[in-house]
Amino acid sequence: MPIKEYDVLIVGSGHSGGMAANRLTASGISCLMLNAGPEADYEKDRTLKHAYELPYRGFKQPGRLPHVFQANEFNANQWVDEKEVPYTHPEDAPYNWVRVRLLGGRSLFWARQSFRLSDFEFKAADIDGTGENWPISLADLAPFYSRVEEIFRVTGRKEGWPQFPDGNFVETTFPPDTETIKKFTEVATKRGIGVSKWRNALGQNGLASSINLLLPDALETGKLDIVENAIVREISVDKNTGLASGAHFVDRHSLREMHVKAKVVVLAAGTLESTRLLLNSKLANSSGVMGRYLVDQMYGVSVVASVPEARDGKARPGLMGGSAFIPRFRNLTKDDKRNFIKGYCVSIGSGGGASPNLFPLYGAELQAKLDSYEGSCVSGGIFGERVARFENHVRINKDVKDAYGIPVLHIEARDTDNERNLRRDAADTIEGLFKEAGWEIVGKTDEVNPPGYSIHEVGTCRMGNDPKKSVLNKWCQSHDIKNLFVVDGASFVTAGWQNPTMTILALSMRASEYLAEQIKQRNI
């Protein structure tokens, strides 16, 4: 007894689903959004507490969320419970899959760094001599980036560098650089390394999420219904046409099984959940590459230095403080011969203290050291690009099911010498710059967190012009099923070093407006 038939079913409510709902409803298209979790109430569900008021004194509850390094006892309830929705990985290849199922998804908690990909990423195969190019270029996506940047109110400093495309930034004045940032910039510039500033989405009222920037307008049209706690089990298919016809889902509380009909299905459940859903539905994989080319970025490499003249309480404001940002600078020309392809960005922060683990000391001796170094430290960390490889993949593990009886994902991703060489180069380069600035190195590591930790997982349904090598076309539309779209990060061909949110939003906007036009033209 279907109550209503919608034009479009959207699975997921994060940035990509929110953008799809926003653009489709603006064209008068009726949408139903299914979200796997509940809506959080910032007043009712959140409260101020001291660590000692919590059951485990601020320690993470032992055994809970073992793969979510970002979790602590304060925020544990915001993440997907790994026991409720588990996944598997080889014992020797841990993977950190960090998920949020609240309405708005991970758009509620993202770090707001807002970069465009450049043609060094879109046309990476031409530069690296390996892999595949995207079927689009920066010129195709630039108009959409501009509109997304306007909605999200992105700040940034224009540089005119091809590997760091400028955007439609809100007007901002950057405070003058402190002496340490100036010194670092001088040293880096001498080596031909460009130093810029972070690019940050201001959003509105402290939030840059789909729940405040995208979904309210969609609801206002009267064309969007949102159902929370709806866990999609399978995409349904019309046996006569082979087209997607809706989805089967289960209610999170009652476990009641439901079905919804729709003329078009748009997946926006987050890279790996969308792919899991397609694999469980056994759909749209004539290419055989669904689940393949999983990729993200490396976080962990860091160098910490202390500025001698800032020690022992002399870290005055004009000397310390502030930040700098180095976009990718490796492998931009054919002359730059390295023992790795791709590149990394470097984030510099000035004015912090040293962590206790940096010193083999304890008690009063450690405290004296920490006090002496307080405020005198400069840190450098990277986001390094991993290479998209066929071997790094996800597949369904039929032997393990989640709390709703849905088979889970098995994730297998490993680094190679390319990743190891890249991060060694990063640690050595930052160390060299800090030493040249005259600072004392107090910590250096080229180790990284497990894949997935960056929460920037992309790929597994990559786009392309060749249906034999890709799952989606350049409009994020399935090659096999024309009324099926995947508008989250699953369509990425390469990860880049950039935080992916702006690109996901721009791709979703572009795909959704294309879809609206196709519906209007009755092509779908």
Binding site: F59, G63, N75, A76, G363, G443
Partner: protein, 219 residues
């Protein structure tokens, strides 16, 4: 046969239709409140606030039962607390913050690998103290304890990077845990009252805690 069943049905039917009968029934009065507790069935309505009373955490008022570590292991843990996180500059030390008692609880509910790390580490310190000084680790003076501990400390450029040697790994872990348990304690928070530098990092000031959001209850 068919006709007989039809007649039986007619005979069994009530004289007036059921819906009409229900309509004729007088409305039932609301259930009376249970005797002796006239407000038991009532709750404040929208706009009627109920008072919020102050409560205290159990460990403000009560001593925890200690049950996980053996007396020798716990004494070694207390000694580690005294040496690694002593009271400094008006801040409580590990013992003031009851950090060893808290870790006794935390370890009792921890995964087996963490429990093994602690047990092996504490036993290792006691064994080394007996070998070198013929006493338990808890009975050593600070110079003797330092002689055992100092070689076990290594700089870790990355906080996730623990040494492979199990005793060194334990020392790195217990140092981190004792510091966190101390700095996250009520005693530490109270020592910060009026301190202008408070509020940096979890535990030093209050932070947003997300309660369970629309939790699922299964029988």
């Amino acid at each position: 046969m068919k006709r007989r069943r039809f007649v039986q049905k007619l005979l069994a039917a009530p004289a007036i239709p059921l819906v009409a009968a229900a309509a004729q029934e007088a409305p039932k009065p609301p259930l009376a409140p249970p005797p002796g507790n006239p407000t038991a069935q009532r709750t404040p309505q929208q706009g009627q606030a109920a008072p919020r009373l102050d409560t205290v955490a159990a460990d403000v008022a009560c001593e925890p039962d200690r049950s996980y570590f053996t007396p020798e292991q716990f004494a070694a843990l207390e000694k580690l607390g005294d040496i690694l996180v002593p009271p400094l500059k008006g801040r409580p030390g590990a013992r003031d913050a009851h950090a060893p008692e808290f870790l006794d609880f935390l370890l009792s509910v921890s995964p087996a690998d963490r429990q093994g790390l602690y047990r092996h580490g504490l036993n290792g310190l006691n064994a080394e103290a007996k070998k070198k000084f013929h006493r338990l680790f808890s009975e050593l003076d600070s110079q003797e304890a330092d002689e055992i501990l100092r070689p076990l400390f290594v700089a870790r450029p990355w906080d996730q990077d623990y040494p492979a040697d199990p005793v060194k790994k334990f020392v790195a872990q217990v140092h981190e845990d004792l510091r966190s348990a101390t700095m996250n304690s009520r005693e530490w928070a109270e020592s910060l009252a009026g301190d202008r530098q408070r509020g940096r990092g979890f535990g030093r000031g209050a932070a947003y805690y997300w309660k369970p959001i629309d939790p699922v209850v299964r029988s």
